[in-house]
């Protein structure tokens, strides 16, 4: 049963444990989680009004799944905050440096490293949602 008063967040994550943990945390913060574990599963969920913010894992069935989803979400509604969660930068030399400012080409509002602290995710979401409300 969906609670009309709860803010819905789309979480796309292919690690079942990370997904479970994000759910527990976000639900404890009174968000409602709309979940998908692959890019393919997530795509049909990108519909107007279906969620107010999105938290996306970067590498799923494709190495850029998170970017693709983010792009689609922003195309549908640029005001929806998107947080991309990744552990990519440190290990693979896939750096998001200043010269390639991710915000300009990735079209996400925040990039968080995996082993993410949930406090950080919560505060990013609060910050981004707050910003969205002010613009509204």
């Amino acid at each position: 049963m969906t609670d009309k008063n709860k803010i819905k967040i789309l979480v796309v994550e292919d690690d079942p444990d990370m997904m479970e943990q994000m759910k527990i945390y976000l639900e404890s913060e009174d968000y409602e989680v709309v979940s998908a574990s692959t890019q393919k599963e997530a795509e049909p969920l990108i519909r107007p009004g279906n969620f107010k913010a999105a938290v996306l894992d970067l590498m799923m069935e494709n190495p850029d799944s998170g970017f693709v989803l983010s792009h689609k979400i922003k195309k549908m509604d640029p005001s929806i905050p998107v947080v991309i969660v990744t552990s990519v930068t440190k290990e693979t030399g896939f750096y998001f440096d200043k010269a390639h400012d991710p915000k300009t080409w990735i079209k996400a509002d925040a990039i968080i490293h995996k082993e993410l602290r949930f406090e950080q995710l919560k505060s990013e979401l609060k910050r981004l949602m707050g910003a969205g409300e002010r613009h509204a």
Partner: protein
């Protein structure tokens, strides 16, 4: 006649103060070609020349040649001085030309990296023979360097992915620990059972990864002492079946062994175990609920034929093409909850190679996969002294 090999031109710089020598050398190399079938190329030579040490240094600075033909006695300095002052020494191969083939010059020039000597006066044939040798050496050096670079790159990628594979379970367990610490599910211990179970599973996966990694490292280093003996594959398979019984039961997969009463093979028992347990574990793990896995063992044309087939989730052609890569795990909705190190098949392939065999895989998405292996008996090591 075979197809002509593609032509590659090497840059040769001749440094000599005698104009006749320079012209003669240029003529000797004009139109001269060296076929290098090992490298699938034919080499020709483009010749530049310089008449003094200064000119030589300028020419070296402008463009590093592939081969340097260097006269020892130049008007302004010696050939050794040129080598000492040359930029990027070692990038080119040096042949010293000397009228007095003195031992001292030879020793010093060799220290400076000279590859060969040509004693004046030399015939065009002598020059061509020396240049051919040098060209071959240039190619060998480059090939060695390329291999070294590739090895470094492969190693870097391997370690990057390994780090990632080790971090994922750590992050998962760490996350659950934090949730428990914050008592996010309330004060009741039982509420955390699922988290504890998942943590144990992820740590188990990590342990498996570390064990597989050790197996792989041992196989690759070739340092592991192999204990070659008579192994009964049927007995080995039986033990593995016992080990995976719980896993098979949980997935309701029936596992069947089709084999003679005994099948002896000369092999290292540990290696045979790696092969059979990888095959069987995969056949159960990547199966559907209520599915079947069949392991067939037989002697065939002197070798051992192993066939392991399942009625599992199968693979698409694209997935099949990537299958034997290290840390390759098929990510799709069926495999999400299956733990694996992504190293099992790398190990399998390496072991099979040790036994001069090969692996064939057939798979149909949604229907199942079958692996066919042949293993030849390992040669019995020559006993240097009586055992016991």
């Amino acid at each position: 006649m075979p197809d002509p090999l593609p032509v590659h031109q090497l840059d040769v710089l001749i440094v000599d103060d005698e104009a006749g020598m320079r012209a003669g050398a240029e003529r000797s190399l004009e139109g001269f070609s060296v076929p290098l079938p090992d490298f699938s190329e034919t080499v020709t030579f483009a010749v530049r020349s310089a008449s003094t040490g200064d000119e030589a240094l300028a020419a070296l600075k402008a463009k590093s040649p592939d081969i340097l033909l260097l006269d020892y006695k130049l008007p302004d300095m010696t050939g050794i001085d040129v080598l000492a002052a040359a930029p990027g020494a070692g990038d080119f191969l040096t042949i010293m030309i000397t009228a007095f083939a003195s031992l001292e010059v030879a020793v010093t020039a060799t220290k400076r990296g000279a590859f060969d000597f040509l004693a004046k006066p030399f015939t065009p044939e002598e020059l061509r023979a020396t240049i051919s040798k040098a060209a071959r050496s240039v190619y060998l050096q480059r090939k060695a360097k390329k291999l070294e670079d590739e090895k470094r790159q492969v190693r870097f990628e391997f370690i990057s992915v390994l780090a990632h594979e080790l971090k994922s379970p750590l992050a998962a367990v760490e996350g659950y620990m934090h949730l428990m610490k914050e008592r996010l599910k309330g004060p009741e211990l039982a509420a955390y059972d699922a988290m504890v179970d998942r943590s144990v599973t992820r740590i188990g996966g990590m342990r498996k990864l570390v064990m597989d990694l050790l197996d792989l490292t041992r196989l690759e280093s070739g340092k592991k002492r192999r204990a070659i003996e008579q192994v009964d594959l049927v007995k080995t398979a039986g033990l593995i079946l016992e080990n995976i019984a719980a896993l098979a039961e949980a997935k309701k997969v029936t596992v069947e062994l089709k084999a003679p009463a005994q099948l002896l093979m000369t092999a290292d028992p540990g290696e045979v175990d790696m092969v059979l347990s990888n095959l069987l574990t995969n056949a159960v793990k990547y199966n559907r609920e209520g599915g079947r896995a069949v392991l067939e063992l037989a002697r065939q044309d002197g070798a051992v034929a192993i066939r392991c087939s399942d009625t599992g989730i199968g693979m698409t052609e694209q997935e099949l093409a990537k299958l034997f890569g290290e840390f390759v795990r098929m990510k799709n909705e069926h495999t999400r909850n299956i733990d694996g190190s992504g190293l099992g098949l790398s190990i399998l392939k390496k072991v099979v190679k040790l036994y001069g065999g090969d692996v064939k895989v057939q798979s149909k998405y949604g229907e199942g996969t079958s692996f066919e292996l042949t293993l030849k008996d390992a040669p019995v090591p020559v006993a240097t002294e009586a055992v016991h």
